[in-house]
């Protein structure tokens, strides 16, 4: 496209393809004064970046500040920090509103969905990437096509299916009075997603075939190859699927709101609705709950960051 227009760039591309040639060449230096200019520019850049990062953080800092206030303090005049620091918001969230239970439920649901996704997506991803079978491309496009089906369209059909059809099917298998309008249903309808499968497939495609060939020559069957060769190498992809799936399930509101009937099974996003009443919103416990809700996903992200980016990289984003 426009790369042909500028000779320097074409040369750069050449170098990129050839790889090592330009690596040793140092950047232009030695020009007097340039280093100090660079340092000032770098300093300004850092200030700007910290400023933007602060902007990104400010809403959360504000929520944290609010979480330590009393309710009266939130309707009184504006102040950056609480007038009287108090833990009442947190106490209310846990005692009056059973936040501990909601957190546990969120963990169970998000954990189960993540593990299931890892299992099914890696199986499917490996097959679509490495195994040849008739209709492979068509089936893969079908999987991708599911991304175009809005959740809201599936709402009524899935609800009716979970309530009527599926219990009657499993009754034939001997499981009577089964109910899926609960935590099991929420997990069951999110066992695997097209996004996870896509990520795993793309990553498997980038693994060099030699390793598989070697395993085959050693007499390994397909499943053994999958288990002993492909999976161990798929670390970044596993990290990516883990973070994205856990985060989505942890924060998911839609299916949980419809399917969870028993208060003891509510998850955090539903629990947040508990603090909104018709004539009042209890901001301090709501903000306390919101702050606590972010912590697990934040920790997960911080731990897996580097692998996460590498995993996403192989999803076709890098071509």
């Amino acid at each position: 496209m426009d790369t042909e227009q500028l000779p320097p760039v074409a040369a750069a591309e050449q170098l990129a393809h050839e790889g090592e040639a330009a690596k040793g060449t140092p950047a232009a230096t030695g020009i007097p004064g340039r280093e100090r200019g660079e340092r000032i520019r770098t300093a300004i850049a850092y200030v700007v970046m910290f400023g933007v990062a602060a902007l990104f953080f400010i809403p959360f800092l504000w929520s944290v500040s609010t979480s330590f206030r009393t309710l009266a303090d939130t309707v009184a005049g504006f102040s950056l920090l609480p007038k009287h620091w108090t833990l009442s918001g947190y106490r209310e969230a846990f005692h009056t509103f059973n936040f501990g239970q909601y957190t546990l439920n969120s963990f169970i649901i998000a954990g189960a969905i993540t593990i299931s996704n890892l299992f099914l997506a890696s199986l499917g991803g490996y097959a679509f990437a490495r195994l040849k079978f008739p209709g492979r491309e068509a089936l893969f496009l079908l999987v991708l096509g599911t991304l175009m089906i809005p959740d809201q369209l599936r709402l009524v059909p899935i609800y009716l299916m979970l309530v009527n059809w599926i219990p009657s099917w499993v009754a034939h298998l001997g499981w009577h009075n089964a109910s899926f309008i609960n935590r099991n249903g929420v997990i069951g309808i999110q066992l695997v997603s097209a996004a996870s499968l896509f990520l795993m497939r793309q990553y498997f495609l980038t693994i060099p075939r030699d390793l598989e060939e070697a395993a085959k020559l050693d007499g390994a069957g397909y499943f053994k190859t999958y288990r002993k060769v492909m999976l161990p190498l798929a670390g970044p992809a596993i990290a990516a699927v883990t973070i994205l799936t856990f985060q989505g399930a942890w924060n998911g509101l839609f299916w949980a709101a419809i399917l969870l009937q028993d208060k003891s099974q509510y998850t955090i996003p539903i629990g947040l609705a508990n603090f909104h009443f018709a004539y009042q919103t209890l901001w301090p416990p709501l903000m306390a709950a919101s702050v606590l809700a972010i912590l697990p996903v934040l920790v997960l992200f911080i731990i897996f960051q580097r692998y996460f980016v590498a995993g996403v990289a192989a999803s076709g984003v890098k071509g």
């Binding site: 320097p8 040369a11 750069a12 591309e13 170098l15 790889g19 040639a21 330009a22 690596k23 950047a27 850049a45 970046m49 990104f56 809403p59 959360f60 504000w62 929520s63 504006f78 099914l120 199986l123 499917g124 195994l131 040849k132 079978f133 008739p134 491309e137 089936l139 096509g145 175009m148 809005p150 809201q152 369209l153 709402l155 009524v156 059909p157 899935i158 009716l160 299916m161 980038t206 397909y222 999958y226 985060q247 924060n251 509101l253 996003p269 539903i270 947040l272 909104h276 903000m287 709950a289 919101s290 972010i294 992200f301 960051q305 580097r306 980016v309 590498a310 076709g316 890098k318 071509g319």
Partner: protein, 306 residues
């Protein structure tokens, strides 16, 4: 030794080997495909079925394409839901992509505290939409933090951003761009990491400044990332539900200003107690998304097949 083994494999019969591989292949994908069939394909079929009836809570009389005919004449759908969805997508996609790209480029520099900045910029994407919506309503209230800061800067704005018809949708656009930019940043970071550093050094040797390097070197080399980001963000934007629902409510905010197509689907199904009509809207929306994706693939090639 290996050669002998390979030769023996060859003489055993390629046909058997292929059949075996195909069977194993089907075995591997059996569970995931069964799942997609049961919870995606079948519901769409069921929804099409429901849309052919006057189905309120329970199945009513058969109306054929009656629901679709009604939808064709539904002015609220076309002048509000469709329009808002298209406006939303047209603004939020460039905004979040530009923001995500800028953040990725910044984080990708050999800077210190890289992990910190990456986490900081990804932070909004991590939070639950329920929490973000509550926080946003609180901050953008008429006497909230945002207006207070604006007042100090000399710009007096006394209205709540989400409840005023003219600012409701733009505020949601801004909010959504902010929360999605982190994910876009991750995608672009991945794409940037694939560009070898030699390219930059070569450009520096040739005297290209930072800006020129970005536009003439980095940007074009990110083409695969662009495709991926564009496709996913457009599809996501066209289906935005959570924030519109939590902030504007199921009725679509002040004078329908935050009513999107998926919210209208929900509204008609639940608030107007009409599962059949809602299903018709859903089918139309699905066909619309399908068409949009098809157009994108035709325009930009096939981004997902490596």
């Amino acid at each position: 030794m290996a050669v002998a083994v390979a030769k023996r494999r060859q003489t055993r019969g390629l046909g058997n080997e292929r059949v075996r591989e195909a069977l194993v292949g089907y075995g591997f994908i059996a569970l995931p495909m069964a799942f997609f069939l049961l919870f995606f394909i079948v519901p769409v079929g069921y929804a099409v079925y429901i849309s052919r009836y006057d189905w309120q809570i329970f199945k009513g009389p058969y109306v054929g394409f009656g629901n679709y005919r009604h939808l064709w004449h539904d002015s609220v759908f076309w002048t509000h839901a469709v329009r808002n969805t298209l406006v939303f997508t047209a603004f939020v996609v460039p905004l979040e992509v530009a923001l995500g790209l800028a953040l990725a480029v910044v984080v990708n520099q050999g800077i210190r505290f890289r992990g910190f900045f990456r986490a900081a910029f990804y932070f909004p994407s991590l939070a639950a939409s329920a929490a973000i919506a509550s926080i946003a309503i609180y901050i953008l209230a008429s006497d909230g933090l945002f207006n207070t800061v604006l007042n100090h800067l000399g710009y007096h704005h006394n209205n709540a951003w989400f409840t005023q018809e003219s600012t409701a949708l733009p505020s949601i656009i801004g909010l959504n761009a902010w929360t999605t930019s982190g994910t876009i940043m991750i995608f672009y970071l991945a794409g940037l990491q694939a560009i070898p550093t030699d390219v930059y050094e070569a450009a520096a040797i040739d005297g290209a400044g930072a800006w020129r390097t970005f536009w003439k070197v980095t940007f074009p080399l990110l083409k695969p990332a662009h495709f991926f980001v564009l496709v996913t963000s457009v599809i996501g934007a066209l289906q935005m539900f959570d924030q519109a629902f939590l902030i504007g409510g199921a009725s679509g905010g002040p004078n329908y200003s935050t009513m999107t197509m998926v919210l209208y689907l929900y509204n008609q199904s639940i608030k107007n107690i009409s599962f059949g009509y809602g299903a018709a809207i859903g089918v139309v929306l699905f066909l619309f998304l399908f068409t949009v994706t098809l157009i994108q693939r035709l325009l930009f090639g096939k981004p997902e097949v490596a």
